[in-house]
Every structure is written in structure tokens, then in C-alpha cells.
């Protein structure tokens, strides 16, 4: 596990990376590039849920404010991820990991478990994000295609984020 200083630095850098995605990487209306669910998932398990939700809210608002988007949209989608982070980690990596406040990585816990966790948090984020962004005005098929495309791309990005935070941790 990296030190708190390193974590905060990486967190800020990846948030800036997300801002760059938001402002300069608009390839298609069907694809949303997001690292934010990965950032929240990788937050140290010692951070309690309330603090995690507050961090998620502030991060989401920062991205909304500085990025070219609707204010409140990322915050709205990111807070549920923070709420369900510990139960999710507990169910995928075991309750023991949450109790020990340990960390998880692809090398230590395997690609399958880590990918599962990132896919779930990404899907949760995108579900809220796409519904709120569409606001009932877009057809279902559009939202579905957007969800699938964004889910694939963003899950990969989040998996990379997970690897960035804990690159060489082994069993």
C-alpha cells in the first residue's frame, strides 16, 4: 500500500486526467470516459464511508465545475459508488480485507476479481450518470448503447487506475 502522501498526489493527478478527458476527449456522444469510479474504489479501506462519500461528492463537483459538464452530474453518480464501496469490496475480496483495512491489486487478488469490482462500480456510476444526463428525453436504445460502450471503455480505464494505485503488490 502506498503512503497517504502518494495516494493524495496520485488522486489529484488522476482527477486532473479526468478533467482533461472531460474537456478535450469528446470522441462520441456514445462514449463517456471516466476514471472517477476507479478512484473511489481504490481509496484506502481505512477511510470510512461517510468521509469517502464526502470526498466523492467534492471530487464530482470539482470535475463538473472545471470540466465542460452539468454541475452536480458527476457528484450525483459518484456518491452511490462511495456508499457501496465497502460492501462491494467485502463481497468480492472477502470481509477479512475490510476488517484488516488491507488493499487489493490485480497481482494479489487476480484480474477476474479486480475486473469484476471495477465493472460493477463503473456500471453503477454510468447508470446514474446516463439516466440523469438523459433526463427522460433520450430513447432507451440510445441510453443502452451509450451504457454498453462507456461501460467497456471506462471499466478498462478504472482497471488501469486500480493498477496505478497498487502496481506491484503480490500475494
Amino acid at each position: 500500500m502506498r503512503t497517504n502522501g502518494n495516494f493524495i498526489l496520485l488522486y489529484v493527478l488522476l482527477t486532473i486526467a479526468q478533467l482533461i478527458f472531460c474537456n478535450y476527449l469528446n470522441m462520441s456522444q456514445f462514449v463517456i470516459f471516466t476514471l472517477l469510479p476507479g478512484l473511489i474504489l481504490c481509496m484506502p479501506l481505512g477511510v470510512n464511508t461517510i468521509f469517502c462519500m464526502l470526498i466523492a461528492f467534492v471530487t464530482g463537483l470539482t470535475v463538473d465545475w472545471l470540466g465542460d459538464g452539468l454541475i452536480g452530474l458527476n457528484a450525483l453518480a459518484l456518491v452511490p459508488v462511495a456508499l457501496l464501496r465497502k460492501p462491494l469490496v467485502s463481497s468480492i475480496f472477502g470481509h477479512d480485507m475490510v476488517e484488516r483495512q488491507g488493499s487489493f491489486s490485480i497481482y494479489k487478488n487476480g484480474l477476474f476479481d479486480c475486473a469484476g469490482a471495477t465493472v460493477i462500480v463503473t456500471c453503477l456510476f454510468l447508470l446514474v450518470y446516463i439516466i440523469a444526463d438523459g433526463a427522460g428525453t433520450r430513447p432507451f436504445w440510445f441510453n443502452l448503447v451509450r451504457f454498453l460502450c462507456s461501460g467497456i471503455v471506462s471499466s478498462i480505464l478504472c482497471l488501469i487506475v486500480l493498477n496505478v494505485f497498487n502496481p506491484r503488490e503480490r500475494r
Binding site: M53, L54, D64, I71, L76, A132, A135, G136, T137
Partner: protein
């Protein structure tokens, strides 16, 4: 203790989560026009649902008050109708004197025993409301019983569903009169006895109070006749299905005969004269 802490943590997490989501929605509402309309629509729907539920709950708990109000209104209308009927009767039959004038008091049943052969009721009116022992208790659809004791605020009623209670009843408006008793089994069954054998009977005839009693005014519909059987080759015993289910009655009217003492005095004088003649 650990479990309790865990529950409190969950509640706190949920509260913070809801607060943050509401804050995010509020910001989003002012950020995009389409999102604003969508969130407003959702908020309106939620409010309507909450208000609707609140109204339904309020309406449910307000039913008792509404029932009391309706019962009072019903009583007032019934009184008006009765007065109107008496006036018409007096106008059309000027030489006929109206015998018996009753004073009516609305009351609510506050306690009810209904599982024995000697059933009683408690009414929420007592001597403070000018209710006296010996008054009758009726509804627009039947006879309920008679008051045998009163306290300041309550009256104790011997129910018609009592093996010893007898009501004078008549078949139709001008038919034969006989004693009506509870059948001792059902809450809406009675038996009309001592109806002369010569009377032609049809099942389905309405049975009314005869008015011969000091307790009850005449012509209150009580029930309808059913099967009959001959008793001792001389009289009919007829099953009567009561209009009022005595186990469910809630609002009643106390009937006090203002001429009761006068009638009793007259009867006493007559009895005394008979004694003297002997």
C-alpha cells in the same frame, strides 16, 4: 452493543448519502434546463404521493369524527321527519289525539357485550343529559333495549338480546300484535309469539313496534317475518329477521316517554277503583 453501533452507522451513512444526493440533484436542477424539468417532475410526483398517503391516513383516522357528525345530522333529520309526519297526521285526522309524546336523545354505544344470553350495552349519555332509567333505546331500524340504570355520564342498557326482554310488536301497520323475543342464538333473529291463529300470514311482512309499550314509539320497523309454526293449535310463533344487527350497532336514540307517569297514575287509579268495588 456492536450491533447497535452498526445500525447507527448504517443510518448515519444513509442520511449523509441522501443529503449529498439531494444536494447534487439541487445543483443539477439549476444547471440544465432539461434536467431541471425532469427533477421538478420527479419532485412533484413524490410530493403528490406523500400528500396523497398523508391525506388517506388522515381521512382514515378522521372517520370516527365524521361518523359522529353524520350520526348527529342523521338524528336531526330523523327528528325533522318525525315532526313533519306528526304534523301531517294531526292535520289530516284532527279529531284524533296523538297519544304518547317521546323525547329523543342521540347516544353512542361505548361498550357492548354480545356473547352471552344476558347482553348489556353502555351508552355515553347519563343523568347529566337528562337520561332516566326506564327509557327505551332504538334506532331507525329497530329496538335495541331499555335503560335500567344511569350514572352521571353513562347509561346501562339491557339489550334486546336478552332472554328476558320482550317488545310489543305488530305485523304490518294494522296487523296482529304480540310479544317479540330474541331467538337466543343469532344477532339478528327474533321470534314473534301469540299471534292469533285466524290471522293470515305472509312471509316477508314488516314487523313494527306496536306503540303499546311505554318505552318505544309506535311504527318503528323492526324486521321481516319468516317461517311460522302453530303453537298449541291456537297461535302462531313466527321467526323474524331483524333489520338491525344488534352486534354491530353503534349509534342509537334514547326514547323517553313524557306521558309515562300520567299513564301509570291512570292505571294505578283504575286498579284502586277496581279494588274498592270488590
Amino acid at each position: 452493543m456492536a450491533k447497535r453501533t452498526s445500525i447507527w452507522t448504517i443510518l448515519l451513512n444513509a442520511a449523509i448519502f441522501i443529503a449529498l444526493e439531494i444536494a447534487a440533484l439541487a445543483m443539477l436542477r439549476h444547471s440544465g434546463e432539461v434536467q431541471g424539468a425532469w427533477i421538478s417532475q420527479g419532485v412533484d410526483g413524490f410530493n403528490a404521493s406523500v400528500w396523497g398517503t398523508k391525506e388517506r391516513i388522515g381521512g382514515y383516522f378522521g372517520l370516527r369524527k365524521q361518523n359522529d357528525s353524520l350520526a348527529n345530522e342523521n338524528f336531526r333529520l330523523h327528528q325533522l321527519l318525525l315532526r313533519h309526519g306528526l304534523e301531517e297526521k294531526a292535520a289530516s285526522e284532527e279529531d284524533m289525539r296523538i297519544v304518547g309524546s317521546f323525547h329523543y336523545t342521540p347516544a353512542t354505544v361505548v361498550r357492548h357485550s354480545s356473547n352471552s344470553q344476558h347482553n348489556v350495552l353502555i351508552l355515553d349519555k347519563g343523568s347529566m343529559d337528562d337520561v332516566i332509567a326506564g327509557s327505551g333505546v332504538v334506532t331507525a331500524q329497530g329496538v335495541i333495549g331499555s335503560i335500567d340504570a344511569v350514572s352521571e355520564h353513562y347509561a346501562h342498557v339491557i339489550s334486546f338480546r336478552n332472554t328476558g326482554t320482550v317488545v310489543s310488536a305488530r305485523i304490518g301497520r294494522e296487523g296482529a300484535v304480540g310479544p317479540l323475543r330474541w331467538d337466543g342464538i343469532t344477532s339478528d333473529g327474533a321470534i314473534l309469539e301469540e299471534i292469533p291463529f285466524r290471522e293470515g300470514l305472509e312471509p316477508g311482512d314488516t314487523v313494527y313496534t306496536s306503540g303499546y309499550s311505554e318505552l318505544y314509539p309506535a311504527d318503528i320497523p323492526i324486521g321481516i317475518t319468516g317461517k311460522s309454526k302453530v303453537v298449541n293449535g291456537a297461535t302462531f310463533s313466527i321467526k323474524v329477521k331483524l333489520f338491525e344487527d344488534l352486534s354491530k350497532v353503534r349509534y342509537v336514540t334514547i326514547t323517553a316517554n313524557n306521558d309515562k307517569m300520567e299513564i301509570r297514575n291512570l292505571l294505578n287509579e283504575s286498579a284502586a277503583e277496581d279494588e274498592n268495588q270488590r
